[in-house]
C-alpha cells in the first residue's frame, strides 16, 4: 500500500482534514523517545500519514527537527506517492511560506504535490473569494479550495487526490523559488493578490484577546479556567465512574454465581474484579481530563495561557512554553516530557522535563480518589458548585506544582548562568479562536483511554494475579498467614514510621512499577480479606479497617512526590540522554516523598 503524506502548519485545520479523509480507523505510531508521533489512517487504497505541524522546514526546536527529519525520509522513500500540503486560506502569507518550502522540497525529490486550501468557509464568510485557478498557475501546482469543517469542496478534493495518487508524475510542481528570501517575497505578493486582508481576519481574534489577555481580567479568567479544570476531573467524571463501578460490580456478581465456590471463584472475584476492576473505574476520569485539555488546545486558548504564564514562569527559570508540557503532565508524564521538545531553550527544556514527574498525572488519580474518599467527607458548598473533596484534589495538585517550581528554581540556580547567552528566545504565534470540532477531539479522548489501559493494564493484571497468589496461599484465603503477609512483615519496618501497616507497604512497593497498581493491589488484598463483603467498596473497607488521618495524608503526599513509574524513567532517560538524570530523579523524589510522608504521619 502506497503512502500519501499530509503536511501543514500548526493550527491550519490539518488534523480535521486528516480525520475527514480517513474516518474512524486510525493508528498512532508512537516511537517512544526517539521520534515523533505519526498518525496514519486508510484513505481509498492508500495510507494517509499525518505529519506533525511545523512552522518551517528549518527547525528551531527539537520537535521540529525530528518532524522535519521524518519528512525528508518520507520524501526519499519510494513508498510515498504524493504529498498533500494543507494551507490556511485565511492566512495565505504565513501558510504559503511553509507551502512553498514544501513545494520546492517535493520537486527536489521528484514527488508530486497537491495543495488543500482549507477553511475556505471562513474566507467566504468574510465576503471574499479566492481565484484558485490563477493561484494554481502562480504556484505551479494543483490547489483545491475546501473546508474540512463544513465539507465544502471535500468530495472534489478526494476525487482529485485519488487521481493524483494514481498519476503522481502529472502533479510535479512546474515552478520553484530561487532561494529562501524569495519564498517570503512570493508568499507576500501572492497573499496580497489573493488573500483576505489581515485586519479583517484578525479583528475578532484581537477583540477576544482584549478580554482574555487583559492584565487584570485575563489573569482572573486564567485562574478560573484552571480551577474549573481540576473541579471537572472530579465532578463531571463521577457519574461516569459510578456507572463503570456499577457495571463491574454487577458482572462480578453474575460471574461468581456461574462459577463453583472455591479457588477459581475467589481468583475471579478478588484478583480480576477486585484488582483489575478497581483500576478500570478511573478510565472515565482520564478521558475527562484529556477532553478539557483538548478543548483548551483546539480552541486556541492554550497559546494565550502560555503567554500569560511566560513572565511568572521565567522567575523560576522556565519558559511560557513549559506551561503546556506541565498541563499535559497532569494527564500523563510521558507525552508531556515529549511535549517539552517545543521549548527552544535546551536548558529550560531539561529543567521542564526534570520537573514534569511532579505534576499529578492521571495514574495518581485513582490513588488520590481512593484516599480522598477514605479520608475527606463529601461536603458541598455554594449549592454544590464546590465540594470539599474537589478542593482537596486541587490542593494535592497544587503541592505538586509548587514543588516543581521550587525544584526548577534550585536547578536554575545550580546550572551555570553563563549558558544564558545561548538561550533561544520566546516567540509564540497566537492562533485564531475556533470552536473545537468533535472529531479530532473524540479521537484524542479515545486514544488516551486506550493507551492508558494498554500501557498500565498488563502490569496491573500481572501484579494483581501475583499478589493474589501470594496472598491467597498457602492456606487458601487466610491472608494473615499467607506468603504475602510474611513478605509484608519483613518490609514493615520501612513503612512503620509512616503509620502504615504491611498491606500498604506491599501496595506501595509494587506501585513503584506504576502508581495505579496501588489501588489494584489494595483492592486485591482487602478483597481476599473481606471475601464475604461487597467487593466494590474498597474505600468503605479501608475506612472500616481504620487508617489514621496523619498516615493517610502522609500517603497522599508520598504519591504526589514519588516518581513511581518505570515508563517515565525510561522516557526521561531517552529524552535527556542521561541514565544518571533519570535514575537520580527516581531516587531523589523517592527520598523527598518518604521524608514528607514521615513528617505528616508524625505531626498530625
Amino acid at each position: 500500500m502506497k503512502n500519501i503524506i499530509l503536511v501543514g502548519k500548526p493550527n491550519s485545520g490539518k488534523s480535521l482534514l486528516f480525520n475527514q479523509l480517513t474516518g474512524l480507523r486510525q493508528k498512532v505510531a508512537n516511537f517512544p523517545g526517539v521520534t515523533v508521533e505519526l498518525k496514519s489512517g486508510a484513505f481509498d487504497q492508500y495510507k494517509l500519514v499525518d505529519f506533525p505541524g511545523t512552522y518551517s522546514l528549518k527547525s528551531l526546536s527539537r520537535d521540529e527537527e525530528l518532524a522535519i527529519e521524518k519528512l525528508h525520509e518520507a520524501m526519499l522513500s519510494d513508498e510515498t506517492s504524493i504529498v498533500v500540503c494543507n494551507l490556511d486560506a485565511t492566512r495565505l502569507e504565513s501558510s504559503l511560506v511553509f507551502g512553498l518550502q514544501v513545494r520546492d522540497l517535493a520537486l527536489q525529490h521528484n514527488k508530486g504535490i497537491i495543495f488543500a486550501l482549507n477553511m475556505i468557509d471562513e474566507v467566504q464568510r468574510f465576503g471574499h473569494e479566492i481565484d484558485t485557478e490563477k493561484l494554481a498557475a502562480d504556484l505551479g501546482c494543483a490547489i483545491f479550495a475546501l473546508s474540512a469543517k463544513t465539507l465544502i469542496g471535500l468530495h472534489e478534493f478526494k476525487l482529485a487526490l485519488i487521481d493524483a495518487a494514481k498519476h503522481p508524475q502529472e502533479f510535479l510542481p512546474l515552478l520553484h523559488s530561487d532561494d529562501e528570501s524569495s519564498v517570503v517575497e512570493i508568499s507576500r505578493t501572492l497573499s496580497k493578490r489573493y488573500g483576505v486582508k489581515a485586519d479583517v481576519v484578525l479583528k475578532k481574534q484581537n477583540r477576544i484577546d482584549g478580554f482574555l489577555l487583559n492584565n487584570l481580567l485575563g489573569g482572573v479568567i486564567f485562574l478560573t479556567i484552571m480551577f474549573l479544570l481540576f473541579q471537572s476531573i472530579f465532578t463531571w467524571a463521577s457519574p461516569l465512574m459510578d456507572f463503570v463501578e456499577l457495571v463491574l460490580a454487577e458482572s462480578a456478581v453474575k460471574v461468581s454465581i456461574f462459577l463453583p465456590d472455591g479457588v477459581v471463584n475467589d481468583f475471579v472475584t478478588d484478583a480480576l474484579f477486585g484488582g483489575v476492576g478497581s483500576f478500570l473505574v478511573f478510565v472515565p476520569q482520564i478521558m475527562v481530563l484529556t477532553f478539557v485539555i483538548g478543548l483548551l488546545e483546539d480552541s486556541g486558548y492554550l497559546a494565550r495561557a502560555a503567554l500569560i504564564c511566560h513572565k511568572p514562569l521565567s522567575y523560576f527559570g522556565l519558559s511560557g512554553r513549559s506551561f503546556i508540557p506541565y498541563l499535559s503532565g497532569h494527564a500523563c508524564a510521558i507525552p508531556a516530557i515529549m511535549a517539552a521538545r517545543t521549548i527552544e531553550s535546551p536548558r529550560k527544556r531539561l529543567i521542564t522535563m526534570m520537573t514534569i514527574p511532579l505534576m499529578s498525572c492521571s495514574a495518581r488519580l485513582p490513588v488520590y480518589a481512593l484516599l480522598i474518599a477514605v479520608l475527606i467527607p463529601d461536603t458541598h458548598y455554594l449549592g454544590g458548585v464546590v465540594n470539599l473533596q474537589g478542593i482537596t484534589f486541587f490542593i494535592l495538585y497544587f503541592i505538586g506544582i509548587l514543588t516543581a517550581l521550587l525544584v526548577s528554581t534550585l536547578l536554575t540556580k545550580l546550572t551555570d548562568v553563563d549558558k544564558d547567552k545561548a538561550e533561544m528566545p520566546f516567540v509564540l504565534e497566537l492562533p485564531t479562536y475556533r470552536l473545537p470540532h468533535w472529531k479530532p477531539l473524540g479521537h484524542r479522548i479515545l486514544t488516551s483511554a486506550k493507551q492508558f489501559v494498554r500501557r498500565a493494564g498488563p502490569v496491573i493484571f500481572m501484579v494483581s494475579v501475583v499478589i493474589w497468589f501470594l496472598g491467597y496461599f498457602p492456606e487458601n484465603g487466610v491472608l494473615q498467614s499467607s506468603y504475602l503477609a510474611m513478605l509484608g512483615h519483613w518490609i514493615e519496618p520501612i513503612f512503620e514510621p509512616l503509620g502504615l501497616d504491611w498491606r500498604y507497604g506491599v501496595a506501595i512497593l509494587v506501585s513503584f512499577l506504576a502508581r495505579e497498581v496501588f489501588v489494584g493491589a489494595l483492592g486485591t488484598l482487602f478483597g481476599i480479606e473481606g471475601a464475604d463483603e461487597n467487593i466494590s467498596g474498597l474505600a468503605a473497607n479501608i475506612q472500616a479497617d481504620g487508617l489514621t488521618l496523619g498516615a493517610g495524608i502522609g500517603l497522599m503526599l508520598f504519591y504526589v512526590l514519588a516518581l513511581q513509574c518505570v515508563a517515565t524513567v525510561a522516557t526521561l532517560k531517552a529524552e535527556t540522554g542521561s541514565r544518571k538524570i533519570a535514575w537520580g530523579l527516581f531516587v531523589a523524589y523517592g527520598v523527598l516523598a518518604y521524608c514528607l510522608a514521615w513528617l505528616a504521619a508524625s505531626l498530625l
Binding site: Y55, S56, K58, S59, L60, T90, R91, L92, E93, S94, V97, E180, S181, V183, V184, R188, S191, G195, A198, V201, L202, Q205, N206, D209, L213, N215, L307, H310, K311, S314, G320, A422, E423, M424, P425, F426, V427, L428, E429, L430
Partner: protein, 79 residues
C-alpha cells in the same frame, strides 16, 4: 538619536521593521525573517504585558508574542 527597537514600541503604535540585530543566532534570524520580520514591513503593537512580560504584535496576517530578549534585538523606525 539612538536606534529604536521593538521593545520601545508603545501599545497601538505602528512602526516599520528596520532590520535584525547581527548578534542573533542564524537559526533565529532565519525564522524571524520567515515570520515576516524584514525591512520595511509594517508592525503594530497590540498589547504590552505588565512587569516587562512579552509583548503582542501584529505582523502580516499573524499575531505574535515576543519577549524582551528578542524584541530588543529587532530594530524599528517610527512610521
Amino acid at each position: 538619536m539612538s536606534q529604536l527597537t521593538l521593545w520601545d514600541i508603545k501599545k497601538k503604535q505602528v512602526a516599520k521593521v528596520d532590520g535584525l540585530d547581527p548578534t542573533l543566532m542564524p537559526s533565529v534570524k532565519r525564522r524571524l525573517s520567515e515570520m515576516g520580520f524584514s525591512s520595511g514591513q509594517d508592525i503594530q503593537c497590540l498589547r504590552r504585558s505588565p512587569f516587562k512580560g512579552p509583548l503582542v504584535l501584529q505582523l502580516g496576517d499573524c499575531v505574535y508574542s515576543l519577549e524582551q530578549d528578542i524584541a530588543n534585538r529587532i530594530n524599528i523606525s517610527a512610521s
